[in-house]
C-alpha cells in the first residue's frame, strides 16, 4: 500500500515539475500523452489494479482518478498560460512599420468640368429641369436666325464663328437648343443643356475658342422676371452656398426681352455669371406659342467660370491642356 502510494506521490511530483517547466504547448502535449495518454503512466497504474487485493482496489482506483484529474488540471492551466505567452510572442514578432506607405492602387478622377457639370445637373434636375443634348455642329438657323438675330446684325460680330459649310457652324452658344426644343414640344417645359461652344477668339487666360456652357430655359403660363430671379437665386445658393445673392443688370441679347446680365454676391464680391431674360416673344411666336398665354425665361452659365469661381483656378486654358498634375488636384 505504502509502496504504491509512494510511487503515486513520486509520479505526481515528477509530472508537476515537467508541466511547470514545459517550454511550449507542443512540449506540453507530449507530457500530457506521457502521463494521461493511452499508454501513459496513469493508465499503467490502472492496469496494476487487477493485481491488488479486492478490498484495496476501490480505494486505489479512486486515488488514481484523483491524481489524473489533478494532472489534467495542471496541464490545462499550464496550456492556457503557454497559449497566452505564445500569442504575445507572435504578436510581438508580427509588428510592422505602419508608417510605410500603402500598396499603390490606381487613382483617377473625373475631369473638373465633368464634376462641375454633374453638380449643375444635380441641382437643376432637382428643380424639375430635363437635360437634352444638342449637336455641337449646329445649323445656322438654330444658332442665329431662330434666336431672333437680325440678318447681319452687329450682335453677331461678337461671336465670330467657325463655319464648316454655308449652313453648318460650330455652335457659338448652347442657346441654339431652344429652337430645336420649341419646334417639337408644347409648353409647359423646363429644359437644360450643357455642352461645348466655339467662338473665334484669341486665346488667353480668360478667353478661349472652345468653352462649355449651360443653357436653361422654361416656358409656362405667367413666367416672370421674378421667377427667373428666384430660380437663379435657388440655383446659385445650391452651387455657391446659402448666403449667395443674385443681381440683375440690363443687358442685350437678341433672344431675350427684357435681357439682363446676372451677377452673384459671393465672398464679398459681385461676380458676373451670364446672360438671362425672358424668352423674346418673336421666338415663341415663330414656334406657334401664344405669347399672351405663355412666357418663358432663359439663362446661361459658363462651366469653366463656375469652376474657376469655386476653386480659384485663374487660367481658362488649363482645362483643355490636360496636364495630369492639374487634373489630379480636383
Amino acid at each position: 500500500m505504502t509502496d504504491s502510494e509512494d510511487s503515486i506521490q513520486q509520479l505526481v511530483l515528477e509530472a508537476r515539475e515537467a508541466v511547470q517547466i514545459a517550454p511550449s504547448t507542443t512540449d506540453l502535449t507530449a507530457i500530457e500523452t506521457r502521463y494521461l495518454g493511452k499508454k501513459g503512466s496513469i493508465n499503467e497504474l490502472r492496469r496494476a489494479i487487477g493485481s491488488l487485493p479486492t478490498e484495496d482496489r476501490k480505494t486505489f482506483g479512486a486515488r488514481i482518478n484523483e491524481v489524473a484529474d489533478t494532472l489534467a488540471g495542471l496541464i490545462d492551466d499550464r496550456r492556457n498560460a503557454l497559449q497566452q505567452e505564445e500569442l504575445h510572442t507572435r504578436l510581438a514578432s508580427e509588428t510592422i512599420d505602419v508608417t510605410l506607405p500603402g500598396r499603390p492602387l490606381p487613382t483617377a478622377r473625373l475631369h473638373p468640368l465633368t464634376q462641375t457639370s454633374d453638380r449643375i445637373k444635380e441641382v437643376l434636375t432637382g428643380m424639375g429641369f430635363e437635360f437634352v443634348d444638342g449637336p455641337e455642329l449646329e445649323e445656322y438657323r438654330y444658332n442665329f436666325a431662330a434666336l431672333n438675330y437680325p440678318e447681319d446684325h452687329p450682335a453677331m460680330d461678337e461671336q465670330n464663328s467657325f463655319f464648316v459649310t454655308d449652313e453648318k457652324l460650330l455652335r457659338t452658344q448652347t442657346t441654339a437648343l431652344q429652337g430645336r426644343i420649341m419646334s417639337e414640344r408644347r409648353p409647359p417645359f423646363r429644359i437644360a443643356t450643357i455642352g461645348r461652344c466655339f467662338r473665334y477668339e484669341a486665346v488667353d487666360a480668360t478667353h478661349h475658342h472652345t468653352f462649355h456652357q449651360v443653357d436653361v430655359f422654361m416656358v409656362d403660363e405667367k413666367i416672370s422676371m421674378s421667377d427667373l430671379k428666384g430660380t437663379l437665386g435657388t440655383f446659385a445658393r445650391a452651387m455657391f452656398g446659402p448666403e449667395t445673392l443674385v443681381r440683375f443688370r440690363p443687358d442685350f441679347f437678341p433672344f431675350v426681352e427684357p435681357g439682363v446680365d446676372y451677377a452673384i454676391h459671393w465672398k464679398n464680391r459681385w461676380l458676373e455669371l451670364g446672360g438671362a431674360g425672358l424668352i423674346h416673344p418673336n421666338i415663341l411666336q415663330a414656334y406657334g406659342i401664344n405669347t399672351q398665354k405663355y412666357s418663358g425665361f432663359a439663362f446661361g452659365l459658363g462651366v469653366e467660370r463656375t469652376h474657376m469661381i469655386q476653386t480659384g483656378v485663374n487660367d481658362l486654358r488649363l482645362y483643355l491642356e490636360n496636364d495630369l498634375r492639374f487634373l489630379k488636384q480636383f
Binding site: 490606381p106 465633368t114 447681319d152 475658342h209 422654361m218 422676371m225 423674346h280 490636360n322 495630369l324
Partner: protein
C-alpha cells in the same frame, strides 16, 4: 465709348461722383468698363450694346443719365435751317439710291479759313479719344460725338460741278480714300459722287481728292442717313471700319440729320468763321412717322414680377424721349406710346416693359419660384449612359481628360484617314484647321505632352464628340457628328511600391482589355469578344498589326478597336513606353445594351466541383480556338472556365505552350457524382485533341 464728365454735364446737371454715375449707368443698362483721369477730369468708358446705337453720343448717354436720375436733359438746339434760300442755287443733291440713303442734307460755308479749333474743343475731343486736326474736321467729329450723327466736310471747289450724286458704285470703280488707299468698289456699295466721280464711300470714309486742306475756303457739309446693313456689308467687304461706319451700322437717327448739320454750322460760326450760306439742301423723300405702341400696366407687372404704377411708367418713358398718352385698352390701364426716331430697338410692348423695368430698377424685382405644372427633371438617356461609363472607367483607374474638338491635322497619319476629316472653312491657323475625326490623336497628344512633363504611367479616357465626313454631295461636305469613347494606357498603371522594389508591371494589351471587359460587365453587355481584324483598314493604320483587335458586343461586330499604337506613331510622338488604346462609338455601345435590366436566376444549392487541365498546343493555336473548342464540347454541367496559366519552356518542347484551364462544374438539381465530372472532362479533352491538336502530359 469714352465720355468726359465735363462734356456730359453740359447736357445734364448732376452732382454725383464719377463712381456713383458709373454705378447708376451700369445698373441702368450702359455698362461702365472703367473710369480714367484726363486733362479734362474723369472720363467714363461706357460699353454700348449693339442695340443701343442711340447711346453712341454724349447726348445719348446724357439722356440715360437724365432718365435714371430723374433730372431734365438739355440737348443742343441750333437755329434750324430752312430748305428755302440761296443754297439751292449753289449746289444740288441727286438721290439715285434712296433705298440705301433715305435722307441726305447738305449745307455750304464760304470763305472759311482753315486753322486750329479752339482749345476747349480740342480738349474735349482728346478726352473722348479723338485727335484734333483742324477747325472744320474737328467740328464734324465734335458733332458726331455730341449727337451721334457722323458728318463729312468736302472742299466744295474740288467737287466737279459743285454737286452731290448719291448712287451705287460701278463695278470696278475706284476711289482713293482719306487713308491713302486706292480701293476698288462694287455695285452693292453706295458712294457719294460729284458730277463726275466718287468722292466718298458713303458712311465709311471720304475721298482724298475732295479732302479739306489748308487751302480750302469753301465747304460742303454732308449729313445723311444710310442703310445700316449696306454700310455694314461694305465696311466688311473693304475691311474698313471707322467711327462713322460703326455708328451707321447701329442705325443713326434719321430725324437728327438736319439738326446735326445746323449744329456744325453754328459751332463753326461761333469760332469766328463765316456764317453758312442760308438754307439747307435736304432730300428726304419718305419721312418716317413714329411707331405707336400700347403698354398695358398689368402686363408689365406680370412679366417683370413687380408692380410699376402707371404714372411712374409714363415718367420713365417720357424721360427717355417717348411721347406718352393714356389709353383705355378695354378695362385695363394702358399707355399709348410714340417711339422716338432714334430708338430702333423699340418695336413691341415687351421692349417698353424692359424700358420701364430698368429705369424703375431691377433691384426691386423680388425672388419667386415658378408655379404651375410639375415637370419631370432628369438627364437624357445618352447623358445617363455617358455618366455610367465615365464612372466605370474612373473605377478602373483611368483619368478623364477633355481635349479639343478643333485640331490640327494629325502629323502621324498616312494616306486615307485625312479624307474623313472635316475642315473648318474660315480659319487660317493650322492649330484649329478642322474637326477631330477620332479621339485617338487627341489622347495621344495628351500622352505626349504629359510624358514631356515627366509623367510616366498614363491611364486616360475621354468621351466626346467627333466628326467624320460622310462624303461630298454636290460639292458640299457632309459632316456627321457622333460621340466617341476612347482610352489609353502606357507604362505602369500605378507607381511601383516599396514592396516591388519600386517597379510595377507595365501596361499591356491585356490590361486595357481587362478595363474594357469590366466596362462592359458594368453595362451588363453580354457576349463581348475581341477578334483579329481581317485586314488593317484605314482607321487601323495607327495600330500595331499583330496587336490589334476588333470589338464585338452582344455577339455583333462594332466599329470598336483595341490595340497597341503602331511603333511608327509612338516613335514619332516620342513615347518611350508602348501605348495601348481603344476607341468605340457610343452609338455602338448603346445598341448592345440589354433591352431589360438583369433578371434573377435561382442560385444552385448544390456544391460545385473544380478541376484543372493543362493542354499542350502549338504556338499558332490561340486561346480563342481553345475556348471555342471547350464551348463546342457542349458540356451542360460546365458552369465556367478560365485560363490560369500560360507556360512556355522546358520541359515543354519549343514551339508549343501549355495552357492551364480551370473549370467549375455544377448542376442545378443535384450534387455531382465523381463519374459525371470525369465524363465531362474526358469530353472536353477529346474536343481539345480533335480541334486544337492538344496533347496532355501523361
Amino acid at each position: 465709348m469714352r465720355v468726359p464728365l465735363e462734356w456730359l454735364k453740359e447736357y445734364v446737371k448732376i452732382e454725383a461722383t464719377p463712381e456713383e454715375i458709373a454705378t447708376k449707368l451700369t445698373m441702368g443698362g450702359l455698362e461702365v468698363e472703367g473710369i480714367e483721369e484726363s486733362d479734362l477730369g474723369p472720363v467714363i468708358d461706357v460699353y454700348i450694346t449693339p442695340n443701343r446705337g442711340d447711346c453712341l453720343s454724349m447726348v445719348g448717354v446724357a439722356r440715360e443719365v437724365a432718365a435714371l436720375y430723374g433730372v431734365p436733359l438739355h440737348a443742343p438746339a441750333p437755329p434750324p435751317s430752312s430748305t428755302e434760300g440761296p443754297v439751292s442755287e449753289q449746289t444740288s443733291v441727286t438721290l439715285d439710291a434712296p433705298d440705301l440713303c433715305p435722307r441726305y442734307a447738305a449745307r455750304l460755308v464760304r470763305g472759311v479759313k482753315i486753322g486750329p479749333s479752339p482749345a476747349w474743343m480740342q480738349a474735349r475731343l482728346e478726352a473722348a479719344g479723338q485727335r484734333a486736326i483742324n477747325n472744320v474736321v474737328d467740328v464734324t467729329n465734335y458733332v458726331m460725338l455730341e449727337m451721334g450723327q457722323p458728318l463729312h466736310a468736302f472742299d466744295l471747289d474740288l467737287l466737279h460741278e459743285g454737286r452731290i450724286v448719291v448712287r451705287r458704285a460701278l463695278d470696278g470703280e475706284t476711289i482713293l480714300t482719306l487713308d491713302g488707299e486706292q480701293r476698288v468698289l462694287g455695285p452693292n456699295m453706295l458712294v457719294i459722287a460729284d458730277g463726275r466721280r466718287p468722292v466718298a464711300i458713303a458712311g465709311i470714309m471720304g475721298g482724298g481728292d475732295s479732302e479739306v486742306s489748308d487751302a480750302t475756303t469753301n465747304l460742303l457739309f454732308e449729313s445723311a442717313h444710310f442703310n445700316a446693313l449696306s454700310i455694314r456689308r461694305t465696311a466688311r467687304a473693304l475691311n474698313l471700319r471707322t467711327e462713322a461706319s460703326y455708328r451707321f451700322e447701329r442705325v443713326v437717327d434719321p430725324e437728327g440729320v438736319r439738326r446735326a448739320v445746323d449744329r456744325a454750322c453754328e459751332l463753326l460760326a461761333a469760332m469766328g468763321q463765316p456764317q453758312a450760306v442760308e438754307g439747307a439742301v435736304d432730300v428726304y423723300p419718305e419721312p418716317q412717322s413714329p411707331r405707336a405702341l400700347t403698354l398695358r400696366i398689368r402686363r408689365a407687372a406680370e412679366l417683370l414680377g413687380m408692380e410699376i404704377p402707371s404714372h411712374m411708367a409714363a415718367d420713365s418713358l417720357r424721360a427717355l424721349g417717348f411721347e406718352v398718352g393714356t389709353q383705355s385698352h378695354g378695362i385695363e390701364d394702358a399707355l399709348r406710346v410714340h417711339v422716338p426716331s432714334y430708338r430702333f430697338d423699340i418695336n413691341i410692348e415687351e421692349d417698353l416693359i424692359e424700358e420701364v423695368g430698368r429705369i424703375h430698377g431691377y433691384e426691386n424685382i423680388p425672388e419667386t419660384l415658378p408655379f404651375g405644372s410639375t415637370t419631370q427633371g432628369g438627364d437624357s438617356v445618352q447623358g445617363r449612359l455617358i455618366t455610367r461609363m465615365k464612372r466605370l472607367l474612373v473605377e478602373c483607374g483611368l483619368q478623364e481628360v477633355i481635349t479639343h474638338s478643333l485640331t490640327a491635322a494629325p502629323t502621324f497619319d498616312i494616306g486615307e484617314e485625312e479624307r474623313y476629316r472635316v475642315p473648318v472653312r474660315n480659319v487660317l491657323s493650322t492649330e484649329v484647321s478642322g474637326l477631330r475625326s477620332s479621339l485617338v490623336p487627341t489622347l495621344l497628344d495628351v500622352a505626349q505632352n504629359n510624358v514631356r512633363r515627366g509623367q510616366h504611367g498614363l491611364a486616360l479616357f475621354e468621351i466626346g464628340r467627333v466628326w467624320r465626313n460622310a462624303g461630298v454631295e454636290d460639292g458640299k461636305l457632309n459632316p456627321v457628328e457622333f460621340v466617341s469613347v476612347a482610352g489609353l494606357v502606357a507604362g505602369p498603371l500605378v507607381e511601383g511600391g516599396w514592396q516591388q522594389g519600386g517597379k510595377a508591371p507595365v501596361a499591356d494589351y491585356y490590361l486595357l482589355r481587362g478595363v474594357l471587359e469590366k466596362l462592359f460587365v458594368g453595362l451588363e453587355i453580354d457576349n463581348v469578344a475581341f477578334q483579329r481584324p481581317e485586314n488593317m483598314s484605314d482607321q487601323l493604320q495607327r495600330f500595331h498589326p499583330g496587336r490589334t483587335s476588333e470589338i464585338l458586343l452582344a455577339g455583333h461586330p462594332t466599329d470598336g478597336v483595341l490595340g497597341e499604337i503602331h511603333p511608327r506613331v509612338a516613335t514619332k510622338l516620342g513615347l518611350k513606353e508602348r501605348a495601348y488604346m481603344f476607341e468605340i462609338s457610343l452609338a455602338q455601345v448603346r445598341r448592345a445594351l440589354p433591352a431589360e435590366g438583369p433578371g434573377y436566376h435561382v442560385l444552385s444549392p448544390f456544391p460545385g466541383v473544380s478541376r484543372d487541365i493543362a493542354p499542350r498546343v502549338l504556338e499558332s493555336v490561340e486561346f480563342g480556338m481553345i475556348a471555342e473548342a471547350i464551348r463546342g464540347a457542349n458540356v451542360d454541367i460546365l458552369e465556367e472556365f478560365r485560363i490560369t496559366d500560360l507556360f512556355r519552356g522546358a520541359p515543354i518542347p519549343e514551339g508549343t505552350k501549355s495552357i492551364t484551364v480551370a473549370f467549375t462544374f455544377r448542376a442545378s438539381d443535384h450534387t455531382l457524382a465523381e463519374g459525371e465530372v470525369t465524363v465531362a472532362l474526358a469530353n472536353i479533352r477529346s474536343a481539345l485533341e480533335a480541334r486544337c491538336g492538344a496533347t496532355f502530359a501523361a
